[in-house]
Amino acid sequence: MTAKENLVIESKGSGQPFNYAVGMYGSKFFKELRENRKLLGTKCPKCGKVYVPPRRVCGECFVEMTEFVEVGPKGIIGTFTILRYAFIDPETGEQKPVPYGYGFIRFDGADTLFQHYISIEDESKIKIGARVEPVFSEERKGNVKDILCFKIIE
């Protein structure tokens, strides 16, 4: 007997639903993104650092941030990778077509980096320090995919 049988336990259609709270800071960020194509960060009253995405606490100073500031939408590539091996897309369960670019973007006016896709039409232009801008989705739903990707600007 060489046939191998796996024990399969199926949950049929039911998953493991989770209601993650976006929080008030996240709500404000996504509302501005959806309605006005604007990007918000929060500024630390002590060290002055601007955090994107916005959040309540500056971990460096352990103080509460309440001041929202607009950043970008243009910025630079902080670092990047080009995926050449297909991983499963956790959103769809399908393998995402390769290659595609991921990057950390530093929006103008921000001190932290924001993760997103980078369009890699011309790979030779994808460099640390290259200037980029977001490509917004036409139908925005108030989530991180309201930005489709970032593209190189000349």
């Binding site: 955090y51 670092t79 990778t81 993760q115 640390i128 991180v144």
Partner: protein
């Protein structure tokens, strides 16, 4: 710090798929190896710390499922979610508290039972990052790029880490991927996520490690050779990768400084005889060595070319073959401790570093090295 020692270690063979063994089976093997090594029985163990991760195990409160195999029934057992070095830190704290004379620490995982990229994807923020599909490899590829950009480290130098560690693994019967390979083989292997080739990445692995820690009084009671814990520290950085200077490991620098100072080591490079560091990816071995102060910033690649980090080099690094040759997550760092213990007892077999007296073991928790734990171990009290 009061004196404490590691008095027993047990490591299972690291394999791609231990299909014949459950988590508890692996733990049973490692625990019995450690007890035998320490010349103890389970009755000599005062308390237990198990280390595991619920996502990797696919089970809520995964630590409790290995309680029986850890001999924890009727004992005080506690759990750490994270790398085994952090579990061992907690185990050490319990010994130093005075409430327990001995602690058994276990750490296990089986990468073979799940889809690694989905598990590591789930470590990312669910609101901002997770839906973009980022995982450990793509995040580390971005860190590798940032590190190479800042230091000028080359793909060839990174490939040499893989050549060295897979070569060392040829001497280690417990390793998963002993390989005689060349720099060309690494650079010619499939590009997974630029700049990381397949052979720049550690494999998916199954394995378990157990370590027994004792206070000074109990350390010499059972007949094994104690290896003394001279300095331990861990330190953490921000959760969001975008908040960090990704090309540097500030928290490792802080942890290493504290640990070396606790061990009264002022010049680590001249005093440390052997290092086992968390080489989940080739570039990380170089980056961690620099951050720990075992090498001038940005120079690890050049030193590697000169042969400094080989088994016969100035500072042998990962003589066991490291994680590149077998990477059971969670157990990874505890295995680093166990390997240094073997070295300092002169029991590392074919990869023994001649005359090794002091060593450093290093573990990592979180994405791209959010948190680092550094252990300084010594042959002498």
């Amino acid at each position: 710090m009061d004196r404490a020692a590691v008095i027993g270690v047990g490591i299972t063979k690291i394999e791609a798929n231990k299909v014949k063994e459950t988590f508890a089976d692996m733990v049973w093997e490692a625990v019995n190896k450690a007890l035998e090594d320490a010349k103890m029985t389970i009755d000599d163990i005062d308390n237990v710390v198990t280390t595991s991760n619920d996502f990797w195990d696919g089970r809520t409160i995964s630590c409790m499922a290995v309680g029986d195999a850890s001999g924890a029934r009727h004992k005080n057992v506690s759990c750490v979610e994270g790398d085994g070095t952090f579990g061992a830190f907690y185990g050490l704290s319990r010994v130093l508290s005075g409430s327990y004379g001995t602690t058994l620490v276990t750490a296990h995982s089986k990468g073979s039972e799940s889809v690694s990229s989905l598990i590591t994807n789930a470590a990312f923020d669910p609101i901002y990052d997770r839906s973009l599909g980022m995982d450990m490899i793509s995040a580390c590829a971005m860190q590798a790029r940032a590190y190479m950009h800042r230091t000028g480290t080359t793909p060839e130098q990174m490939a040499m880490v893989s050549v060295k560690n897979h070569g060392n693994a040829m001497l280690n019967p417990l390793s998963q991927l002993p390989m005689n390979i060349t720099v060309e083989d690494v650079l010619g292997s499939e590009m997974i996520s630029d700049p990381l080739h397949k052979l720049d990445c550690s494999p998916v692995s199954d394995g378990c490690c157990a370590v027994i820690i004792a206070n000074e009084k109990r350390a010499s009671q059972y007949g094994s050779l104690p290896v003394w814990i001279k300095g331990v520290s861990f330190c953490s950085d921000s959760y969001f990768l975008g908040d960090r200077e990704l090309s540097k490991a500030k928290s490792l620098t802080q942890a290493a400084k504290k640990a070396f100072s606790m061990a009264q080591i002022s010049d680590p490079l001249s005093e440390i005889d052997v290092a086992e560091v968390y080489d989940a990816f080739t570039y990380q071995e170089l980056m961690w060595l620099e951050a720990m102060g075992l090498c001038q910033d940005g120079k690890a690649g050049i030193n590697l070319e000169k042969g400094y980090y080989g088994i016969k080099g100035k500072l042998p690094v990962n003589p066991s073959g490291g994680l590149l040759s077998g990477h059971p997550v969670i157990a990874g760092g505890l295995i680093r401790i166990a390997e240094i213990v073997k070295q300092l007892r002169g029991e590392a077999g074919a990869y023994q570093i001649a005359g090794a007296k002091k060593g450093v073991a290093h573990g990592v928790n979180g994405l791209c090295g959010q948190s680092h734990c550094v252990w300084i171990l010594d042959q002498e009290k």
